[in-house]
Symmetry: D3
Subunit: 235 residues, 6 copies
């Protein structure tokens, strides 16, 4: 059984306050994780039911850090489940385990599969935070563009086909889905478009498992050092 890799506890931190979403995230993450990996999903106690745009994102970052702080010393890796949302650098300082933001994992996987990444989002106001997140990770030169399918819902995957085709026509050669609940969309687009379509949540789960498996964790040499030892109360 040791052959399966180490038993590990992954913490998924939802960026939205909806526990219904958290339940679905847990199901998806569990479906791709190793059998020896246990998944816990943390739900912020304040913030937006569905985070969209800069204001929500900053509130969500603090709420995510607050709920995450309860799991210090009690998990082996953290996946931050907000596509294009803020806070990953704070999490790296707060926690002693590797932290993977789904935006990072999604972009990196897409860069291994194609040359020009096209991101498909569902809201105009998500575009700014997404571009900022990609710029902060240093991969702007690989981002072909972000295209919005306004009002599209993951519950109706077909609605995304036109957007994906437009990204490809404009010059992208790999599609990255901007959201945590996009697995059904990935499956539909993969059937209909002849390019790889990356679901960021499942990628992040595997990426994080890999880091834990390899005993790699966040650098505490400088920016992410946790020296004053004080988790802030938000009350």
């Amino acid at each position: 059984m040791a052959d399966d890799g180490p038993a590990m506890r992954l913490l998924l931190v939802n960026c939205n306050t909806s526990t219904t979403v958290s339940d679905r995230l847990q199901a998806v993450a569990t479906s791709v994780a190793a059998p020896t990996t246990s998944i816990t999903v943390a739900t912020p106690e304040f913030g937006a039911e569905r985070v969209v745009g800069f204001y929500d994102s900053f509130v969500s970052a603090a709420a995510s850090l607050q709920v995450m702080s309860r799991f210090r010393g009690q998990c082996d890796g953290v996946v931050m489940v907000g596509f294009g949302e803020h806070g990953r650098e704070g999490a790296r300082q707060l926690m002693d385990v590797p932290v993977v933001d789904i935006t990072e994992a999604g972009m990196m996987a897409a860069c291994l599969l194609g040359t020009d990444v096209g991101i498909l989002a569902t809201s105009e106001q998500a575009v700014g935070p997404i571009r900022e997140s990609v710029r902060a990770m240093g991969l702007s030169s690989r981002l072909h563009g972000v295209r919005v399918v306004p009002g599209a819902s993951p519950a109706e995957p077909e609605a995304f086909v036109g957007g994906a085709e437009a990204l490809l026509a404009e010059g992208a050669d790999v599609v990255l889905l901007a959201g945590a609940e996009m697995l059904a969309v990935q499956e539909a687009l993969t059937r209909q478009c002849c390019v790889p379509v990356v679901d960021p949540l499942t990628t992040a789960v595997k990426w994080c498992e890999s880091l834990v498996h390899l005993s790699l964790s966040t650098s505490k040499h400088r920016d992410y050092r946790w020296e004053h030892g004080k988790v802030l109360s938000l009350e």
Copy 2:
């Protein structure tokens, strides 16, 4: 009296929870503002007494947005008083008035005075957020570097002289002070170093006054649109 420019209400948002700091900020801002400008300082209700590093910064961003939201419709301009701290894009979405982050104002003023900006900070953990803030505003190519004078306090301005001289020796030709309470340091360094030394708070106050005077405000065309109209409760 119209000659003095319009009467205006500026809101300074402290990033720290210390009201003592807020009082000092008010005094400094008032000393450079026009006589027709009234200054109010808002103090966050949670977060760090003294924000240092990524974790504190993200918590502070949410706390700053929360306290700022009480002033919607009641001020003419906002100055965010956290050097290298997060949140300005969220403030631009939340508020209907111009928002100036002291990091932006400081960098821009420095870029008008020299070619290579050297930033002088007081903590190693401030370096990461500062570099990130400068990158997000697009001015990384003008940033020569950030130098830390560990443990230096604005109360002892002489402690900064060596750091400023080191920045100049390394290639910077203008110095920007990384903090809101650096006016005394600016005065001391200006006496002893033969380069301009920029205090970001006073610059931001004048910059913000200028935008209000010219009736310029934040674009609500896309990223900063406030469409759902819901200020989030953080309780």
Copy 3:
């Protein structure tokens, strides 16, 4: 009266040889300046009546520096009134006071108001110098693009509406007007487009006043040192 800020003498340097233009610049600058600020406009003695394109711009730079040199020691700040034109680094070396180029002030103000700056110009041949000017100040990543409304005149502000709307449709979220005599255009566009529209001359006047007010001046540490003390004769 000290409350109004220091009495100061700003020198505006027109890039064109037209004194009619200089008169209008003086009127506009005076309308936004503090009552304690006196405005002088210098007009080059040679060069183009209306500077357009690289050749004119380089001739104008020398002519602007020549006329400016007569005011050494006799002004407290310089505003260079040529959008996208050359010479600001030379002025910074020649003069002992802060120098603000209206292209810089316009771009910086626009970057405080939106994320992607769209510039509206009136001539194809202005595009090259404008792009070069923005690149030299390090803000290319914030420039969405330059759009030309061929033959449009500030005397007919309505002619610019279509161009501004096109910039917004293409992805800009703030408009910067490429010219010194654009205040009427700003007013018209502000009425009709729902985004901030930046007039660079008025912004530069307030920016320069702010630097003087804060006793900030050009670095003489390296590039801008004036060591041989010889103003060149152009005859």
Copy 4:
């Protein structure tokens, strides 16, 4: 058994002609792979015994592609085992499965753990190809620098400690080892330096397993399309 993830066949392509090295690579890869993953190592039939520098690297690229072509249709994923070596884009065109270059996997993992990646190499002539490889993947802004420990051998891991410490002192906060046989060095450095040290081979194996597990493969939309269907003979 399905719980362990899919059974998969990974092809490791050595860049050197040494089968002794290939045997060691197989052992290391097997030690971190899932029990359901089978590892095959392909050894080039011509080229350098130990690839160092641009000339060797280009010869090795062709040799790697030649030997790889025999495995078309017979593997589920490819790991290219040459740190800083050329050829990955050719492999992506030739093969129908995901291709992970150990330089990419190493850089990406390091970027998840720290902000400034320091690479530790054993030869001056490796520096050029490594910098080029990182530039081609778009991550130059995250590369702090490449430091050489001349003549150091992975068989004597202690020889790398000084180099790693120098990288950290210069500003890196995570170390990436430039070579495929660096696992012992990783273990030694991890014990002695307080930062994460990334071994690129083991990371690439886990990364590639993850892509196969998620059914993600190379885009064939444009650059990597294989349309003429002709594997070139190199004789």
Copy 5:
């Protein structure tokens, strides 16, 4: 006769295995070379008859280096005749004379003639390698874009007119032809379009002659040092 510049022996290295192409390259190169320059064309012994795309390009790089190695010590300069193809850094290490890649010479000449270079190619799969080659030489900011005229043949130069006009309409102001056999296309486009059209082969021949004339050769200080002295056998 010494006045004509030094007698010199240039080696042109075809990237394709076609000797018919080599013969035509020799004729074109001779037509622009000085009378004191002798031209030898080397043809690879394996690889693609017509190199297109990444896979072909990497195989061609090794084949080009192999054939080139026979001319060590027997030529005064090398021109690599593959537009957008790999291998120039390897050639610089292998040879003791200056090496000019036609992609480099073409881009540099175009940058002296206009501001935004538009490249005209004949295959979609050439685009990736061309962009990569331009990025590696550091001139991406001068590349406006690569446009493909699918299936166009240099034998029918008129087929390229529409593509060139499209490049100009999109914003390019100088056209660079992506291929070694484009002289007839250059002549046709020059007649019909009012912009400079650069043929990379003829430019590279003159560039290389110039370097030899000036006694300038490749740096052997670091990346291009040839220290192990072993030309690899590819058999």
Copy 6:
């Protein structure tokens, strides 16, 4: 005689007002030019005897354009002889023939010979204009740095050896000399340092001859169009 390439008239435009310098430039240029090339040197009528720094450079640009305008229609190519000086874009608009700035030719030649260009200058105040010139041509990523040998004179070439060695020790692998009268320095450094040392004037002469030979001239499509047909009087 046609074999020698076309007879052509090159105009060298000195940036300094010294005719003694002009005479020396003519001798050096003639020594490397083809026998069928005639060299004329134009000397500005105003400006600095020896251009150093931004102010001089802008005055020199206008003076160079003025003297150059007398040669419209009377030369086949222009070489601008001011290392790091302004004005080349104006010359491209003014003249109907190819224009080569020695900074461009020097940088491009250096980029063909090494990977990291180190520039050796003789004055601190030349550094700013040189960096700006390289940035404007898009080659900043290839510039390792500019090193100053204060007060060194080309008349004593040995004074430059230490500077060249320092550049190489810091990471450059090719040296570019920042001045038009550096041929003797090139010869001395070439003897003593084992790297290529580029003299920008002789390179620019050969580069310009090549463009004329190939009938390539400046694009008049957009930025460099000369449409109003008015050479400005500078009196």
